[in-house]
């Protein structure tokens, strides 16, 4: 197609760029019912305890942050929005001068902040506000007390979890250099999961191990030509590329969801660090057996049930792999907002050949397909869940998957429970 694809009517069937196996991917453009990249601040600001995220945007950005998750429990969370106003746009106020003032007020109020992110939004991108330069300028003022970095979480460039990718990408050039061999686990994980993995790596004799992002901005995560890294999350295309540019080596593996995924992920590190098969078996045998036991409880509820995934976090493909291979669910459609065929290659290879994979979204067309398929359970965002429940479809809110510890052996049962509970509810309720 040479001309612009009409967004609402577009329905393009295209061959996936990277065979084998050749897999047909339905690519759609149209209304997307997904969050923008700003939303990943919801977990990033809890994960990095001395970092602050200053969104430079509109009232809409602030309202999104307030509404998208029940985060108002924090009186002063470690994020805020610098709302661009008419006088800034009309040139009545110098927007860079205003930004300096805002940052100065913020840092006065929050002296414990060591790392400040200036986060670009749709409006700041459209007016071409150069936040990169602003970050450099402000860094000179506040260095060394505060480091100031910049990335964009705008909806015109990023979906939901790509915000984390952009944030970590901005951090990589700042990481100290090393020639020492080591492992870096990339992607925010719940602290409890991080600690479990750290214990397993220690038992395997792999080290030093660092986690990016780390809980404290001050904790150095050294990177160099002898660094190997595992991706803990499937949305880190640019972060991986930037780490590779610094000489680090990506260890391809399944993502650590389910017993199979966790084993593959740990095995990739074990092999790279020369851990013997016996030792790997000895260390992982017990937790893997626990995971299998935990999953067995959900077989009755989930085996044979059909699943339809709307695109949300990019977790959809690894989740579908887990649910189909370890719990016997059947797959109607697996939607993802963005498909990175290299990082997903191993995952896609394990999905049934006939499952429909879709990338991007035209929400009305996808809803039509979902209604036709009548899946037993639909994974979708909060904007669609209640309307689909009203139509008699059982749903699982996808946002819970990024806020709940689901990775690793010990969380296998919890992950299965997230899908079993809505089905369980439907069989119990008699009203």
């Amino acid at each position: 197609m040479t001309q612009l694809i009409p967004p609402l009517a577009a329905k393009a069937l295209a061959d996936c760029a990277a065979p084998p196996p050749a897999r047909v991917v339905l690519r759609e453009r149209g209304q997307r019912e997904v969050f923008c990249g700003l939303t990943s601040i919801m977990w990033l600001h809890r994960k990095m305890q001395d970092a602050f995220f200053l969104i430079v945007g509109s009232r809409t950005c602030a309202h999104l942050m307030q509404s998208a998750a029940g985060v108002m429990i924090f009186a002063e969370p470690r994020f805020a929005t610098a709302i661009i106003e008419e006088r800034d746009l009309a040139g009545m106020a110098d927007i860079n001068e205003e930004l300096n003032k805002t940052v100065s007020r913020l840092l006065e109020r929050r002296p414990e902040i060591k790392l400040l992110f200036l986060v670009g939004s749709c409006p700041s991108e459209v007016i071409k506000l150069d936040l990169g330069r602003a970050a450099e300028r402000l860094s000179m003022t506040y260095s060394p007390r505060v480091r100031i970095l910049n990335y964009s979480g705008s909806g015109i460039e990023t979906t939901f979890t790509q915000g984390e990718d952009a944030c970590l990408t901005a951090m990589v050039p700042e990481l100290p250099a090393t020639d020492e061999a080591g492992l870096v686990v990339v992607g925010a994980l719940a602290d409890v999961v991080e600690d479990q993995f750290a214990r397993i790596f220690e038992a395997l004799g792999i080290g030093p191990v660092h986690f990016l992002p780390s809980r404290k901005a001050g904790t150095a995560v050294p990177v160099g030509p002898n660094t190997k890294f595992l991706l803990a999350q499937p949305w880190l295309r640019d972060t991986a590329r930037t780490l590779e540019a610094r000489g680090a080596t990506h260890l391809p593996a399944l993502f650590p969801l389910g017993a199979e995924g966790t084993t593959s992920w740990l095995k990739a590190a074990a092999d790279a660090f020369g851990v013997s098969a016996e030792r790997f078996h000895a260390v992982t045998e017990m937790p893997r057996a626990r995971a299998t036991r935990a999953l067995a409880r959900y077989n009755d509820t989930l085996a044979g049930k059909s699943l339809f995934c709307f695109p949300d976090s990019q977790l959809e493909i690894p989740l579908a792999r887990f649910l189909s291979r370890e719990l016997g669910m059947t797959l109607e459609e697996v939607g993802t907002p963005y498909l990175h065929s290299v990082h997903m290659a191993d995952e896609l290879a394990l999905l049934p050949a006939d499952v429909r994979i879709s990338e991007g979204q035209d929400v009305d067309l996808q809803l039509d397909r979902c209604r036709d398929a009548r899946p037993d359970i639909t994974l979708c965002g909060l904007g669609l869940a209640n309307p689909l429940e009203q139509e008699g479809l059982t749903t699982k809110w996808s946002i819970e998957l990024v806020f709940t510890p689901i990775q690793g052996y010990e969380q296998c049962g919890d992950l299965a429970e997230l899908f079993a509970r809505p089905l369980n509810r439907r069989t119990r309720l008699a009203v």
């Binding site: 509109s58 809409t60 999104l64 029940g70 991108e125 015109i156 904007g383």
Partner: protein, 517 residues
């Protein structure tokens, strides 16, 4: 540039969505980037709506900016018309699309759709949600209302009115409509159209058939009712029927507009006056209450609090500057200075300073109250999912007055419980750290040490650090936690006044005598 964490109002296009989502047969085509669809979940999750809001978002991306975002808009508008077949459409831009200046109105006009299309200009960088809702409703009314055949004056026909203002995501709008239409019916007045909630674009064409308009929520309906008065000669109500007194006034006002006799008001019963006069309610008298919300609800709450529950209003304010003037006037009458702000940190500071015994506010004040350990009831939007109750719970009319009594009094500690807490502070089960059962019982204990520790840092003026003698500090712990903050502040102010460095038991009681309750 304004630094914000939490906001009382969303952007104006969310206001337009509240109108579109409230109505049937209307579709909103919004020129907006990916991510702006978050607004759908306000309706599907917070209000638990079982239908998607009737909004099509164009979802343009960065790479479209160089090419043709206008074409994307046209294609989305055409597609939305074909799929949803609405009676009318509203079109507009969100904050980002406003910057690229694609003119959704002109683009849709060029499509020549066979339905009315109303273009909205909602300036995102200067206006907010309520303004957007009000402007959208006004544009719809102005665009659709048409002259109706005049009814011949007839003694046998009942007067008819429109009820205007209720929207999607409004605080108790669903139940207020039921309460007020029921009340009007009892008075012998029929309702022509309720709008925007539940109305179709076609219904809006019939608005001029009514004798007068009831403006339930001026934040939403004021501009529209003024237009209808000017254009079609329909007068409108000014009284907001929240509380017994205001409901009685409202009845007198509508009867006047309807040209009917005011009925015997004692025929309309609310339990609230007797509940307030019952002896057990003595403990309510003089309770210090802080009120903050939208202008309309804050004003109404102030009247109810002062006149119908005998509370003492110690703070009054609103976040919408459009309604600052009446709120200032009411505050002046109560001997207060109104707090007009959209910065919740300012509200929090005012509450912390005033140490009220009850907060009547929004979702934001509920969070402030939780942090400060002060009882709170919600009286105004913005609200969260807990404030969309399954049960019938209007704010307006006589049943609404009952609801106000219950919901405002529930968070308080009952009079007798208060005395028992005061008398037996040292009881091993029924003590400070156990807290009050209905407040979850947590967090009270640490507050003392926290409070005392904090006072070391906040010393102002001549004496840098105020020292609490151990026995005075112990005595402070015996004061019920819900008045302790105030007692502590008063004592410290007293000590500073007297240039005392150490607060002893004597100082504590001297201060108590000097301040009274």
């Amino acid at each position: 540039m304004q630094l914000t964490v939490w906001t009382y109002e969303g952007p104006p296009h969310v206001g337009a969505m509240r109108i579109a989502t409230a109505m049937e047969g209307l579709h909103y085509v919004l020129h907006a980037p990916q991510g702006d669809t978050y607004a759908d979940l306000l309706f599907t999750m917070i209000e638990r709506r079982a239908k998607r809001p009737p909004v099509t978002y164009t979802t343009f991306e960065a790479r479209d900016l160089g090419s043709d975002t206008a074409e994307i808009f046209k294609s989305a508008a055409r597609g939305a018309y074909e799929r949803f077949q609405p009676q009318a459409m509203i079109v507009g831009a969100s904050c980002t699309a406003e910057l690229i200046q694609d003119d959704p109105g002109g683009l849709t006009k060029a499509l020549d759709l066979p339905i009315p299309v109303i273009a909205l200009e909602l300036p995102s960088y200067s206006k907010k949600e309520n303004w957007g809702a009000s402007e959208t409703f006004y544009r719809l009314v102005r665009g659709l209302a048409t002259e109706q055949p005049k009814r011949a004056p007839n003694r046998l026909t009942r007067p008819i009115c429109n009820v205007l203002g209720p929207t999607a995501l409004g605080f108790r709008h669903r139940d207020d409509v039921r309460e007020i239409t029921g009340l009007l019916f009892q008075l012998g007045i029929d309702v022509n159209v309720v709008a925007p909630l539940g109305a179709t674009p076609h219904d809006l064409t019939r608005l001029p058939a009514a004798d007068f308009n009831v403006s339930l929520y001026p934040e939403i309906a004021d501009v529209a009712v003024r237009f209808l008065e000017k254009e079609f000669g329909q007068p409108y109500t000014k009284t907001i029927p929240i509380g017994v007194g205001a409901t009685n006034d409202f009845i007198v006002e509508v009867c006047g507009l309807a040209g009917i006799e005011v009925p015997d008001l004692s025929a309309f019963a609310s339990n609230m006056p007797w509940w307030s006069r019952s002896v057990d309610s003595n403990y309510l008298t003089g309770k210090r209450v802080f009120i903050f919300g939208d202008g309309t609800h804050a004003l109404a709450a102030a009247r109810v609090a002062a006149d119908e529950l005998a509370f003492t209003v110690v703070g009054l304010g609103c976040y919408n500057r459009e309604f600052a003037r009446p709120v200032r006037e009411a505050a002046t009458e109560l001997g207060l200075e109104a707090l007009i702000t959209e910065d919740y940190l300012e509200v929090e500071a005012a509450i912390a300073r005033l140490q009220p015994e009850l907060i009547l506010g929004t979702q934001m004040e509920r969070h402030i109250a939780k942090r400060l350990g002060i009882p709170c009831a919600v009286i105004s939007a913005p609200v969260h999912v807990q404030d969309f109750p399954a049960r019938y719970a209007p704010q307006m009319g006589f049943e609404g007055a009952n609801v106000l009594f219950d919901t405002w009094v529930h968070p308080l500690i009952m009079g007798l419980e208060e005395h028992l807490l005061g008398m037996f502070r040292e009881d091993f089960e029924f003590n400070d750290s156990a807290g009050a059962s209905h407040l979850g019982g947590h967090g009270a204990a640490e507050k003392v040490s926290e409070a005392v520790a904090a006072s070391a840092q906040t010393g102002e003026g001549a004496i840098a650090v105020l020292h609490w003698a151990p026995e005075a500090e112990n005595e402070l712990k015996k004061i019920p936690f819900f008045v302790r903050g105030k007692a502590k502040r008063n004592t410290e102010a007293f000590a500073r006044d007297k240039h005392l460095e150490t607060i002893t038991l004597e100082t504590l009681y001297d201060a108590k005598a000097s301040y009274g309750r």
